[in-house]
Symmetry: C2
Subunit: 222 residues, 2 copies
């Protein structure tokens, strides 16, 4: 018996995602639960970064995780092993979560007693950026092997995020990745973006990121 459930979330039949997102954001604010939406390409390291983040913060904050995926549950299995309250959301082929799908997840997870809920969105730089989930904060991961030109090619996701985590800096020597250029391009899209270069594998840079997240959560829920 697995220690997480799988929820099939259905796309809303109503067509006002922004309204749904604002309603969910207000509800979470009242509950004093900080909802973070984490986006990236497939394979950028969302799950590994999440594991490192949970290990750093799970003694200080009450955390829940919603893993969204087309139809697998490999991520929920990995995360639930850390002893964190976890559910797997299945999008039924959908390439993103909208606010109502997120609300279904929140309801199923049960978030009243939680300080922080992290939604790991479907691996995709395009569609998730177009749908406000109702989160208090959007974060994205770009990994070194993907290349420093991505803010030029996928502008919207950089624009809607508060935080850019640049993962896999341990392999910087093996790729033509220009850290100054990626920062310049990303800040062109969004001058307020907080940027954290990390290696989820070696742990380098994780402290700066997790301290920042902890502060954001604590100031939100107090």
């Amino acid at each position: 018996m697995e220690n997480y459930r799988i929820i099939e979330v259905k796309q809303s039949i109503f067509d006002d995602n922004d309204k749904d997102a604002n309603l969910l954001r207000e509800k979470m604010k009242e509950e004093k639960t900080f909802l973070m939406n984490l986006m990236s390409s497939p394979g950028a390291g969302k799950t590994t970064t999440l594991k490192g983040t949970l290990n750093a913060l799970k003694d200080d904050l009450k955390i829940g995780v919603m893993e969204a995926d087309i139809d697998s549950d490999v991520d929920a299995a990995t995360i639930s092993e850390l002893g964190v309250k976890t559910i797997q959301l299945h999008t039924g082929g959908m390439c993103h979560l909208d606010a109502d799908m997120t609300r279904q997840g929140v309801t199923n997870l049960g978030t009243e007693d939680l300080d922080l809920v992290i939604l790991e969105n479907v691996g995709n730089l395009v569609c998730p950026a177009e749908f406000d989930t109702g989160a208090a904060m959007n974060a994205m991961i770009l990994s070194v092997p993907e290349g420093h030109d991505k803010p030029l090619k996928y502008p919207l996701v950089f624009q809607v995020c508060d935080v850019l985590i640049i993962n896999k800096i341990d392999v910087l020597p093996y790729f033509d990745f220009d850290m100054d250029k990626v920062k310049e391009y990303a800040l062109m899209r969004n001058p307020n973006l907080k940027i954290f270069p990390i290696s989820a594998k070696t742990g380098e840079g994780m402290e700066a990121w997790t301290s920042y997240l902890k502060e954001r959560v604590e100031s939100y829920i107090k």
Copy 2:
């Protein structure tokens, strides 16, 4: 003055993509032009692989390229430098191309005199897999840094492809990537998948892939 044009493609107002796809496939077959649809995540190396493929085949085949992107034209600029007939398709925010958008591209490129047209789809493993573009062959690139579990998490794209190119094998020593497992998982999705491990950067493995493509095109157009 750039040596490529930018075309804004519009989503079809009709809702029968499979019919549109079959019509386009028949038209291309009559014209003896082989249309290949190339899919991958952002940053897997579609453009670099395409450059290597074009350099290997452009003396033997008449080739055209359609670069699809949300709204940049960095790829068309790169490809057109090789002296290959190129257009940039802008999807206006859409995360994939459907068959009618592909037809608009084909019409604008002018394909009657071409043996091979390569469509570089939007960087996304989810949505492009759901829409038949009318191509004679679907190929995808998975890169080593993305991880060997991707056929478990994004099953459909592996299922609809004829060819899986595994790129960036030059960095295999720096990642926990199990080549046997990725092949096993990918073949579970599609037992007929042809798999080519390559490094577009060093050229390793490129000859096997480009020879295979050349044979496929030649047997189709003769």
